[in-house]
């Protein structure tokens, strides 16, 4: 039993695992933030379709509101590209196990915060599209409300990006 644990630990901490952890981080950043954006933009799209059925002239305005939760997916992709550029895939050198784990940890903020913030931004966008349906003249205010949720995705992006850049 003890020998098995020791063998497993040595495999997991071997330098060849570094790129696995780093790639896992890049994948999580892309997947989680992208999934959140897909859900958020999808919700916004359904609300937009409801409004456009009755008021097609609002297309440009509701499109902007629908797309607001799409930014988290882009942030996730950006962090993933920077990671890929540092771990020997698009450039740089293959990381050690410790460095790989650090890349994984650095990717988590944008992955998790991106997922949650995009879903909630989607809900806020749906509410704003409803507001726009009732008061088309309130576009500025309607856009500001879901945009506030973006703050937390940007904070997570900063933490992920700065950390990855320093590794």
């Amino acid at each position: 039993m003890g020998n098995t644990v020791t063998a497993a630990s040595s495999v997991l901490l071997s330098d060849s695992m570094g790129i696995v952890y780093a790639l896992l981080g890049a994948a999580l950043a892309t997947f989680l933030a992208g999934a959140g954006s897909a859900i958020g933009v999808g919700m916004g799209g359904r609300a937009a379709a409801g409004v456009l059925t009755e008021k097609p002239e609002l297309f440009a305005k509701v499109l902007i509101l629908q797309l607001l939760p799409g930014t988290q997916g882009i942030y996730g992709l950006l962090v993933a590209f920077v990671v890929l550029g540092k771990i020997g895939i698009l450039g740089g050198n293959a990381p050690t196990a410790a460095q790989g784990l650090l890349f994984l940890a650095a990717c988590l903020p944008i992955g998790v915060a991106g997922l949650i913030s995009a879903i909630h931004q989607g809900k806020a966008s749906v509410a704003s599209i409803s507001l726009l349906a009732k008061r088309p003249e309130s576009f500025g205010r309607a856009m500001l409300l879901p945009a506030m949720v973006e703050t937390y995705a940007i904070l997570a992006l900063l933490v992920s990006l700065l950390t990855v850049a320093r590794l």
Partner: protein, 323 residues
């Protein structure tokens, strides 16, 4: 849990078309009935073909609401609770028409938009094949038909069907997919119970007899209500002050029409929070309730103008607007 994002967004646009207080002020200020009709037509009411006919215009508006709901919900039966009243109205009309052979046209006797086509109800009543009706209706239909044919007592027939309708509403309330629908059912049952209790008391029924007629209603003690009804409207108003329906007590003291109006206003207040709801079925239910209340107000207003009633009297009968 299913969400209704597309449907609610569409309803938000449709809510812009609801009449608001300013519209009702304009209608009240109209010099005559024709001018009020013209104002409604300008607002897009009616299908555009029925010139001059208020009833056709109102029916077109009722149909438009349900056509929209059918478009939004497809075969979904989420809002059936709002249509139950029409089924029982049609059942009552079918039984009475079979007995009295009034010869009136179907469109004057029956209401479209129930959960089952009224012709199916007529067929079941005519053939006495009550098993073709929904289970909740079968016993009441058979009993009411028998009572009417044996005693000719139309009011007793009404009471049997009304109670069955309220029981069906109460059962539907327990399984309602949205709190708005449950609130609608509760307010409708309370309103009907109070009206039935007072009507029965006026007809000289005793408290136990009245109690038997009433359907269980949330937050109402039916024994106390029946006893209060025997003592008169003022006692019922006093009793209501001890319940969550305190706001209806003052209106009941004034008149039955004021009470009806207060019940509708209470319902409008209960659905108002749906204006900020974006995902659930609530805004759809609220829109249907708001439309039906609005059409009721317009019908009262047009009838008042047609009969040259004082504007103040018409204004008192108008419901609070959701729009």
């Amino acid at each position: 849990m299913k969400d209704y994002i597309y449907e609610v967004a569409r309803i938000r646009v449709m809510e812009n078309g609801l009449l608001n207080k300013a519209d009702f002020d304009q209608l009240l200020a109209a010099p005559d009935y024709e001018a009020a009709l013209a104002y409604l037509k300008d607002k897009g009411w009616g299908s555009g073909e029925q010139s001059g006919s208020a009833e056709a215009m109102l029916k077109a508006e009722e149909d438009a609401t349900w056509t929209l709901m059918q478009e939004l919900l497809g075969e979904g039966r989420e809002l059936d609770i709002l249509r139950l009243g029409r089924d029982y109205h049609n059942l009552k009309a079918a039984i009475k028409d079979l007995y009295a052979a009034s010869g009136l046209p179907e469109d004057r006797l029956y209401q479209e938009g129930g959960t089952l086509p009224y012709r199916e109800i007529i067929q079941a009543v005519t053939e006495k094949s009550f098993h073709k009706l929904p289970p909740a209706m079968q016993e009441a239909a058979a009993q009411a038909t028998q009572v009417l044919s044996q005693t000719g007592d139309g009011q007793l027939c009404d009471n049997i069907i009304d109670k069955a309708a309220l029981n069906a509403l109460r059962e539907a309330m327990e399984e309602a997919p949205d709190p708005v629908l449950a609130a609608f059912a509760a307010t409708t049952v309370v309103n009907a119970d109070i009206r039935m209790a007072l009507r029965a008391a006026t007809a000289g029924k005793s408290a136990p007899e009245i109690r038997d007629m009433l359907a269980e209603a949330p937050d109402l003690n039916l024994n106390l209500l029946a006893e209060a009804a025997v003592s008169g409207k003022a006692s019922v108003a006093e009793y209501l002050k001890t319940t969550p329906y305190e706001s209806l007590a003052g209106a009941l003291s004034r008149s039955m029409s004021a009470f009806e109006c207060a019940c509708d206003d209470l319902m409008t207040e209960r659905i108002r929070p749906q204006k900020s709801e974006v995902l659930s079925l609530g805004p759809l239910a609220a829109y249907v309730i708001a439309r039906e209340t609005e059409i009721k107000s317009v019908r009262l207003l047009l009838t008042g103008l047609q009969n040259n009633l004082p504007r103040e009297m018409i204004q008192e009968s108008l419901r609070v607007c959701y729009g």
